[in-house]
């Protein structure tokens, strides 16, 4: 990754049937970067991808590629290739011809096509599959053909639209590692769309969190996780306790009836804020020397830790701990200054971060790969 800008989106807006799906998106994508657009279905991530590919035209704003505006350039003239959500392989062609499709259009010689197809088959670990019928392949194999078919054209950018959505968990993990390897090996910029936060965190150089057609935060995976900018980002990435607080002055914030030192500054004195504390960053301490006390309402064994829900000042907190506690027990907790993340109030304040209605079942339901209705 370097700092040379490859794609710039400038104030992109898009509506379908009067409904705004993108509201003034600004985004820079750099050369050799692995960028992930992350968000729930309907957040506009797929539309953003389709605008970069040229399948959709933005209502407003500019798409800039290597410094030139490309709004009017049709998809077939852009140096961009796409891996589609459900692969979109040509069912009438075998693996070899699917991969060779782009090169045949460029009228390359048979020898060159043959050589480049075999390079691609090696890259995606499908050697010996040349003559196979694409409809006879498994989902993972079709996925690899789709990637090879796109990469063989040596695009400047590869767009991937939830490419692992249809694969099972084990295969998904393997493909994540492989995609990252392919990206490093080819040096091509990847723009990856997913609703899976773990996928986004483990693969990307840059994560772009989207919701309601707007970009909520752009940053490295660490920054997105450790310093979320608003309640939506904090909640969408990992588990978080989000409570109302007041900034007393720089480096001093009050919440849950107590005052805490923190590492945040730049807020107005007395400004209402959202405070995020990750469940794994909360320490359980003896009641005598604690900052807050709370009553344990539930304990769930998770293998290498316990997930406990604690009622502190009528707000349900989630804590991940290796200490054994019992439901009904009163415990003391302590939070280190660097574990407290203070955020400005946003439209998402109060919507997330309270575990009073939390149940594991609900959480699993919401993690099901939703059919993207974008």
């Amino acid at each position: 990754m370097n700092n040379e800008k490859l794609i710039e989106l400038r104030s992109i807006s898009k509506s379908y049937d009067g409904e705004k799906v993108l509201r003034s998106i600004d985004l820079d994508i750099h050369k050799k970067e692995f960028v992930t657009l992350l968000g729930p279905s309907g957040c506009g991530k797929t539309t953003t991808l389709r605008i970069i590919a040229g399948f959709e035209n933005p209502d407003e704003g500019e798409v800039i590629f290597e410094g030139k505006k490309i709004n009017e350039i049709p998809p077939y003239k852009r140096h961009i290739n796409t891996v589609f959500q459900r692969y979109a392989l040509f069912p009438n062609l075998n693996v070899y011809e699917n991969i060779a499709f782009g090169l045949r259009l460029k009228k390359l010689s048979d020898e060159e096509i043959k050589q480049r197809v075999s390079e691609m088959l090696a890259l995606v670990n499908l050697k010996g599959f040349e003559k196979r019928d694409v409809t006879s392949l498994s989902g993972g194999q079709q996925q690899r053909v789709a990637i090879a078919r796109a990469l063989i054209n040596k695009p400047e950018v590869l767009l991937l639209d939830e490419p692992l959505g249809a694969l099972d968990l084990k295969l998904r993990k393997d493909m994540q590692v492989e995609l990252k390897r392919m990206q490093r090996q080819t040096g091509i910029t990847f723009v990856y769309v997913t609703h899976d936060q773990e996928e986004a965190l483990s693969m990307s150089d840059t994560v772009v969190v989207m919701a309601n057609g707007e970009i909520q935060q752009i940053g490295t995976p660490e920054k997105i996780y450790n310093e979320p900018e608003n309640a939506f980002v904090a909640d969408f990435i990992g588990e978080s306790n989000i409570v109302n607080g007041t900034m007393i002055k720089d480096y001093l914030v009050s919440f849950a009836g107590q005052t805490f030192t923190c590492e945040d500054a730049g807020f107005a004195p007395g400004e209402p804020v959202d405070v995020v504390v990750r469940p794994e960053d909360i320490d359980i301490v003896p009641v005598e020397n604690c900052m807050l006390t709370g009553k344990v309402t539930s304990v769930t064994f998770k293998g290498d830790y316990y997930e406990i829900i604690v009622d502190i000042d009528n707000f349900k907190w989630m804590i991940e701990t290796t200490d054994r506690v019992k439901p009904g027990q009163t415990i003391g907790i302590s939070i280190d200054p660097y574990e407290i993340q203070v955020m400005k109030k946003s439209e998402f304040s109060g919507m997330f971060g309270d575990y009073s209605t939390f149940s594991d079942e609900m959480e699993h339901l919401s993690e099901l790969p939703a059919e993207d209705a974008e």
Partner: protein, 279 residues
Amino acid sequence: MTATVKKSRRSLTAAPHIVWAILFIIAPLIFVAVYSFTASDGSFTFENFAALGDYTDAFVRSASYSLIATFICLLIGYPLAYAISNAAPKMQRILIMMVMLPMWINFLIRTYAIMKILEDTGIINTVLQAIFGEEFELHMINTPGAVIFGMVYDYLPYMVLPIYTVLQKLDPKLSEAAADLGCNKVQTLFKVTLPLSVSGIVSGITMVFVPSISTFYISQKLGGGQYLLIGDAIETAFGNTTTYNIGASMSLVLMIIVLLSTAIMNRFDKSENEGGAIV
């Protein structure tokens, strides 16, 4: 429930269909075969097939007219089906309705209507004469062109519908993938859409060619009886009890021609069971 009971139940429910098939499909076929190999007194003979030589012209004419009509139907039908499948969903329903609408009207009435339109004193000539003067006349009726026009008009929906069905089911992502890999609109049509709609084209061709080659009445009305088609010859033969046997042999030969051409067509369609069915 044991497998045999299940099986016998299943064949029991199929009984009405089997009876139907025997009565109306198999029995007539046997009659046709028997008649074609017997003389009017019931004795076995090949005479009927020897006599077919007199009808060579009619066979050749039927085959060539129906091939031309099928080709024209394909030329008009494919672009039409393509355009309809690319229209907005609501518009698609209206357009398909318009394609099917003529099929609601009786075949004979439609043919009469075409006759009235193409006549020397018909609508077209009346309009042309109003524009270019009294002496102007475009002679259309009673020509081979009029007969082929009639076939195209009558059977065009059978070309459009199966092609439309296949095109409409094509994943739009495939066209996007083609565009993504460097195809412009024309290349996408020829490299992706067309190869993937072969099954629709094959059933369209079959569904137009088969009724065209055996058609009757169209030529009598639009060709003025000058261009004998095999369908008309069969009709005439069965109009007289003494020529039943030769009519049967003509039917049998026609049936074999149709079966052969269908078999040849199906070789082009590698993807079995994929759309292309009658709507």
